[in-house]
């Protein structure tokens, strides 16, 4: 933080109490204040008083911005063994072996798009306030090579880069990530959307998801303990739950169509949250029950559902995903007293209520037993259809949708640059005749909830 302020030419004075602060008792906070700054080992309050009263230094009187140096295009030549060591020791990998981005390999990767190598794709940084780091098509190609991708995967990886979202945004709360690919490219590059789609059985799913994190490490400069402060980190970041939506078996329109894209467009959609909470089996009623039982930092919920669940929801009477979302919002109400008892709500929603910010201010005035809908609109809830119909189950995440990015903008006009014999892992064995799965007539009509029409 202090370095960032200096870089900006804003030489603020910082002092650091011990950490963490959230959830600590008043007695502990008092000890923090009466104790030392853990960075300098000086008494904290001496520093604070000094920060307010010590005369400005010459540097503080005449601040200048400090620019980071540009990196050379190529590293110094070395043996492959030494370069692998250099990549690992510099923190440029995810800890797993990489493919070295030689000029030849990067040049081959660049055949996966028509865009010029020196075109700037975007800027990225894992914090919200530091200097953003810029990257070109060639830089993204180097990342794609490192991840083990082939040129056919490159348009998807470029779309991820164009999102300018790092897969590992810095927060002490440890963000998790999910990315879903929709449209024809899923099948063209052999992505797995069916059985085991979220498991390590598919090259495209693996390397595309991995590339997002490698670009977050190298473009967005993620460095643990320096600017990446997630206390646990998040295991999803190894490949960011990368898979395709199972459009072929879904009873509903694809996710990207919900977001305004045509069905024949290829699009990657990004999600961000903390938890994959449970697995559930059952109707919308059970989904509403599950999400009413956990706290709300942001109101988002994304259900990853097997295609059988989507079919069941259709059979329950929900004509669209949005119909189901509306019903779940209305039927996952919780007592307002219970809502504000949560640590998160006490710290954040209650503070917003005190400021008069709605709906928190109105909620805070209600009797404790009054029911409120913490997920306030159908937009807070998403359904993604993934899986191979081996179990009519769903998993609940508190992931929020962030954005969708066109992949087709990065495709070569002549078509995807595929290898003569595209590299594929064994595809999951699936039902060939379409007879697997629960027939719609088997759904118990007695459980059918009434869809809510009002939006």
């Amino acid at each position: 933080m202090e370095r960032n302020a200096r870089t900006r030419g804003t030489p603020l004075r910082f002092s650091f109490p011990l950490y963490p602060v959230v959830g600590m008792s008043r007695a502990v906070l008092r000890q923090y204040i009466e104790g030392n700054d853990p960075i300098t080992s000086e008494p904290l309050m001496n520093e604070v008083i000094g920060a307010l009263t010590a005369p400005l230094t010459e540097k503080e009187k005449h601040p200048t911005t400090v620019r980071k140096p540009r990196h050379p295009r190529l590293l110094a030549t070395d043996t492959a063994e030494n370069l692998h060591r250099q990549f690992i020791e510099n923190g440029w990998t995810d800890g797993l072996p990489i493919v070295l981005p030689t000029e030849a390999r990067v040049a081959e990767m660049l055949t996966g798009t028509d865009h010029p190598a020196d075109e700037i794709v975007g800027r990225m940084i894992i914090t919200t306030h530091q200097e953003k780091m810029e990257y070109t098509v060639e830089k993204v190609a180097a990342i794609a090579v490192m991840a083990g991708a082939r040129p056919e995967h490159f348009p998807v990886i470029l779309a991820l880069a164009a999102s300018q979202e790092p897969s590992m945004p810095s927060s002490t709360t440890s963000w998790g990530r999910m990315m879903i690919v929709n449209g024809p490219i899923r099948n063209e590059i052999g992505m797995n959307c069916g059985t085991g789609a979220l498991s390590p059985f598919n090259l495209a799913n693996a390397v595309i998801g991995r590339a997002w994190t490698l670009m977050s490490i190298n473009f967005a400069e993620a460095r643990a303990g320096e600017n990446f402060m997630a206390t646990f980190g998040h295991n999803t970041n190894y490949n960011n739950m990368c898979c395709g939506e199972n459009e072929e078996l879904s009873a509903y329109e694809p996710f990207h169509v919900q977001r305004g894209f045509r069905a024949d467009e290829s699009v990657v959609s990004l999600f961000r949250g903390w938890n994959v909470l449970n697995f559930g089996i059952g109707s919308a009623k059970e989904m509403a029950h599950v999400i009413s039982t956990f706290g709300v930092m942001y109101p988002a919920v994304t259900f990853v559902v097997d295609p059988l669940v989507a079919k069941n929801l259709r059979a329950e009477g929900f004509k669209t995903k949005r119909d189901a979302c509306r019903w779940i919002v209305e039927n996952s109400r919780v007592p307002v007293g219970h809502y504000f008892e949560g640590e998160m709500q006490a710290g954040m929603a209650a503070a917003l209520a005190k400021q008069g910010i709605e709906p928190f201010a109105s909620w805070a005035k209600l009797p404790k037993e009054a029911l409120i809908a913490p997920r306030r609109s159908a937009d807070d809830i998403n359904f993604i259809v993934v899986g191979g119909e081996t179990n009519p189950m769903w998993i609940t995440t508190d992931f929020a949708y962030t954005q969708s990015v066109s992949i087709d903008n990065w495709r070569p006009k002549a078509g995807l640059r595929r290898d003569p014999k595209p590299l594929r892992m064994p595809a999951p064995v699936t039902c060939r005749d379409g007879m697997c799965g629960i027939p719609e007539v088997a759904v118990a009509k007695a459980d059918k909830p009434e869809p809510v029409d009002a939006d």
């Binding site: 900006r8 030419g9 804003t10 603020l12 109490p17 963490p20 602060v21 959830g23 600590m24 008092r30 923090y32 309050m45 307010l52 009263t53 400005l56 005449h62 601040p63 200048t64 911005t65 980071k68 540009r70 990196h71 050379p72 590293l75 030549t77 070395d78 043996t79 492959a80 370069l83 990549f87 440029w92 070295l100 981005p101 030689t102 000029e103 990067v106 914090t127 919200t128 306030h129 200097e131 953003k132 780091m133 810029e134 990257y135 180097a142 999102s163 300018q164 002490t172 490698l214 190298n218 942001y298 640590e343 998160m344 710290g347 503070a351 917003l352 400021q355 910010i357 962030t402 954005q403």
Partner: protein, 125 residues
């Protein structure tokens, strides 16, 4: 590729852009922090610090809590510390409006116009 032969590889790191992120605008939705398209960014210009006070005796110090969990309680303890150790200092706790990610120009104006001599902002989450 021979292990002993030398190879040339690209530096995978991004390049500095001169563009910085900044606090969300006061009216931004909290969820705007999730999307770079809705996160404000700008070039930066050096800002000189305000002159320091000779002493805090008899001065008013604003304790601004940013909204991260625990920061209100931290500021209450800080206020207690001033009461015990520097009773001549008047402290006022203010909550920065919106979430921890949003700007609060009204509060900065209030502090400047209402006799605030200094401000301590904290704490990060």
């Amino acid at each position: 590729m021979e292990q002993s032969s030398k190879v040339s590889v690209l530096d995978p790191r991004g390049q500095p852009s001169g563009v910085f992120g900044r606090r969300l605008d006061a009216q931004s939705k909290p969820s705007d922090i999730l999307n770079p398209a809705t996160q404000p960014s700008s070039d930066v210009k050096p800002i000189t610090m305000a002159p320091r006070l000779n002493s805090l005796d008899g001065k008013t110090v604003y304790l601004v809590e940013t909204g991260f969990g625990g920061s209100f309680e931290f500021m209450q303890e800080l206020q207690d510390w001033f009461s015990r150790n520097m009773p001549s200092v008047k402290t006022l706790i203010r909550h920065k409006r919106g979430t921890m990610f949003t700007d609060d120009p009204d509060l900065w104006r209030e502090i400047k116009s209402s006799g605030g001599c200094a401000a301590i902002l904290g704490v990060g989450g």
